[in-house]
Symmetry: D2
Subunit: 341 residues, 4 copies
């Protein structure tokens, strides 16, 4: 079986694993070690944000929940696309921390500045604000859960809305590398436009781990929040070693760009076979609209993932990663060409 | 100004107030007094539920939140119409207690057994159940926030779904009296079909207070939950006295039926004036579709409440209560007839 | 039976009840009514705090929990005497809201500025601050759960510590009237020295209700917190009417001073009978050290409350209130004199 | 510098690291992979608990908080020694999840069945149970935070109390290996006597990770709780690989016994130098009572950790681990012998 089921089905990139294995000294615990310091410096540099607070956590749900719970006051909520990971696949972690998700209908996984404006204005004009949850944060995923990417212009518009209404802008970058490689918003752009953003490791070549960046600082309290949310790894240098490797010599960029390219080959193969995609995705997730028979046929040799029904067809996700090699793609491309129609 | 703004703009019904004033003895605290016992007995009798657990709390948000938080496990959520009071007007109290509301699109404030079935089946068939919030409770309002009423047949269908999927059925009866008077489901029906329901006092003639009924018992823990949620009134007999008065000689039924009748007079007046209603409401809330000019004209003499926009028109709520008298209605009916068109 | 069991076993003072009954107009809901405005003005005036934010809630657990949860960030905790009401008799409401109580050993219900200093300094010097709960608030009860009173000098010392360490000083005044009448700290002193304090109604002559005062303002968010914590009474004027009555013509002061005096008569009677008190209490709670036989004998005619064992003896609480009259005390004094020894 | 500061200052044991590196296949996510299955089987076997539920989480705070929050109802609390890790070093994680810790005074880190009995009986006899937190779980650490070990007899007594009062017995085994090697209670004993226990990896030779064992099953819900608490690692096989290595050929037992032996050499060296220990510890943590000068002298070459003051002396912790070798100990033993007195 060749795996296109997700981007976390394999261990870390060899350079990451090697860095982890080499970390054989004794280190102080809880992220206060030279490896973490080095990784922080590399990330600050890549973000052109010398004052940024940078922390390393273990997983995506953890980093989202900790950031949201540490930012909001109890009566405040977070705006999200209804398809946002926090709203669908985190077992209510945000609500478990006491906060309502104000879900707006997403379009291909994204929400617009206009939607945010409308949400806040409805709240503020209600006349009974204390009876409703105050929108205080905007959560977006870059790229989205559908693999789509916010453009720099869209991010600027969201920033403007957040400034106008004093909202915190949080970008979930669980797959950030793929978004950076595919879109026009760079790390320095994110650092300039967001209040908080995450740099996903787990799905982008690390064994595990997510970085969180507070580009403008102001995160003095965050280690307390991390510890309270079980997010302060004792052997924190395991995360520092990995992120140091990922941000050395553009590895993060390189391996996610590679995965995007492999994904484009899949998209082209489906197009050549006359098979529509759910939409045009520039990143490492591709959603093909297959018949049940086509899905069954491909599933004999490939792990792929049913995503959602689409009329009579089925949207099936094919996901690439750092480990997707040419042979994997060649095989799939060949079998797509031979699919029954 | 004559008030049709809501059903809690006046003190309690004279019989309720009188009962409260007469409670001049010394009583044990926290609801363990003879007045509460008497009220419990009367409610059990009215519900034909001799084994029912009955408790008295102070307000609607409190009784909803306490019941939900005391029933669900942390990873479970509650299904509700998107227009449900818990989802819109309780400042995220349910989420504050750690639980996600699984909001389904309501039709005139109501949800159907088929919608609940679909929600649970989607969860169970997802293959990744532990990544999503488990639907474990169904919350409905009787009557709904739109003044509509679940029929006995609809309640039976919801009960069947809840049995099939082991869901708890919670009925928010903040305005229960109006629903009982207008619909075909009686208190014994509710006691038979629900796991938990509330009997609203605040909006139905009491000064303040809500009863909660566990018709099949099993509520040994609930006083602990009440105290933890600040819902155990020190001078609990103040609630017992009120509910005892309300459930004596059918007062609860009588005053809510009266309010429904007064509301029908308003509905007829609008119909006679050629003004449409948002929908046909059998209870004490009437939603007229007015022009801005019409709303302004009526607002000179009457307190009414803008509810939601409706195309070019405005849905404006007129609400009656135990205190709405014939003179109030006569005046409004006359002014409706004279409205500019 | 004559009741000395607690100070909330009777309805409200006649003037309070009368004010409640007279509130027969239509009022806006949720505390935005003229009666609440009047009560706020009287409280601001009594506190010499013209800028104070004043809100009315329903009970003591509620006002404590809401104030604490609305003030602390998630990783912060509240310092309290181990005997503090929040630590012993609120079913873990504070923890339910997510916060640890940092309990210090109380002396007769009180804690000192030196203890607070030590607690904060230990935290700050630990070197692992993010692994422990940050002390961020000091909670004291005035009078304490033992009926003892913080002197003005003690309050000043606590204020200094709170200033030094940026701690919020919250005073639980569930029985504040008795403390004001017995001690040397006045309402304006509290307003000057505390960040937040409560003025208890339930135990001081009201039917129910507690006022909370933010003497320096800054409470814009508090109504949101109230609603989320089920603490925004729909018919809020019921609370305004009561507090208006209590703060009219010094009634609050008068009835609590009266109760203190009646309590002193009890203390003197025990002293005359050669029975020791647990300690010298200046307020409405007196703790006599009785043999089991003495307690049994008095319990035949009086409701009193076992408090805690004391060697071979039993500390038994006798509690007075606005309603304790001379006949009640005469009877008890007589029976104390006749107690078997 | 030679590290005796803690037992998590180094990477994992070579066999663990090797197993991690070798896991190069594609695996299903979230712990549903063959490596986790193998580790589960080995743990069930070592525990003689074929029906046990076994899960792998990332850290100690996480496993404690998730287990407690998933077990208790909202109004219930957990009994712990005041020195328990959950009470002192987890930033209030348990309270953050809504539950009060009922802290009992520990003796060398341990509590007794008699203390638990007294705590529960005081609660049950209070007459106002709903006003206090219900003791529903007993949390102990094996070994304790002081390195002391519960004997099999003590565990049996705790089990009996838990049975008598229907309490859940949770054993925090963050350093379980050291306790198993030093005491008379075996893994099958724990499995027979506890409801839930953890097997620490982080401090016992793993890179990271803790196993949690429900020896009698009944943990169907636990994956939901894990996901909600950010405790479901995407690449779960990273944990399975490590625990498989640790439970292969008695490695876990061997490396913790080795660390205990090295610790005994430290204890003997202090004894030989006439320096008292805080108490007699059989496990990998040794607490020497040093003068400030002695501590300063040793701190020039060794990382050790100030633990608590002890009269004029300082209790200083020396901690061994899998990586503590003979040369490390030889050096320390020599320098202890030469300490100024």
């Amino acid at each position: 079986m060749i795996h296109f089921g997700n981007d976390y089905h394999r261990t870390g990139h060899p350079a990451v694993l090697s860095a982890l294995v080499k970390a054989q000294d004794s280190y102080p615990g809880y992220g206060e070690d030279p490896l973490c310091e080095k990784a922080r410096a590399e990330i600050r540099n890549a973000c052109a944000a010398p004052e940024a607070g940078v922390h390393f956590l273990m997983g995506g749900t953890q980093v989202n929940t900790t950031a949201i719970a540490a930012t909001l006051r109890p009566w405040q909520g977070v705006i999200s696309a209804d398809s946002g990971h926090i709203n669908t696949h985190e077992t209510g972690s945000v609500e478990h921390s006491g906060h309502k998700i104000l879900a707006l209908p997403g379009h291909l996984g994204k929400i617009t500045a206009a939607q945010v404006t409308q949400c806040v204005e409805e709240y503020r004009s209600s006349g009974t604000m204390e009876h409703a949850v105050e929108p205080a944060m905007v959560y977006i995923s870059q790229p989205s859960e559908y693999g789509t990417v916010y453009s720099l212009a869209e991010l600027r518009e969201l920033r403007e809305v957040c400034d106008r209404f004093s909202l915190t802008l949080l970008v979930d970058g669980a797959r950030l590398g793929y978004g950076l490689a595919a879109g026009d918003a760079t790390l320095p752009d994110l650092a300039r436009l967001c209040d908080i953003f995450t740099i996903g490791g787990t799905k982008c070549g690390a064994l595990f781990g997510e970085a969180i960046v507070f580009p403008h600082g102001g995160d003095a309290y965050f280690r307390n929040a991390m510890k309270q949310n079980s997010a302060l790894l004792a052997k924190g240098w395991l995360l520092g070693a990995q992120f140091s490797a990922l941000f050395h010599d553009n590895l993060y960029e390189e391996i996610t760009a590679h995965a995007n390219e492999q994904a484009q080959r899949i998209a082209h193969a489906f197009a050549a076979a006359g098979i529509d995609m759910l939409f045009d995705s520039p990143t490492n997730q591709q959603f093909a609209l297959l018949t049940q028979e086509q899905e069954d046929e491909l599933s004999q040799n490939y792990v792929c993932q049913f995503f959602e029904p689409h009329g009579d067809l089925r949207a099936v996700r094919f996901c690439t990663s750092w480990s997707t090699n040419d042979e994997d793609i060649d095989a799939l491309v060949g079998d797509i060409a031979n699919l029954a129609r």
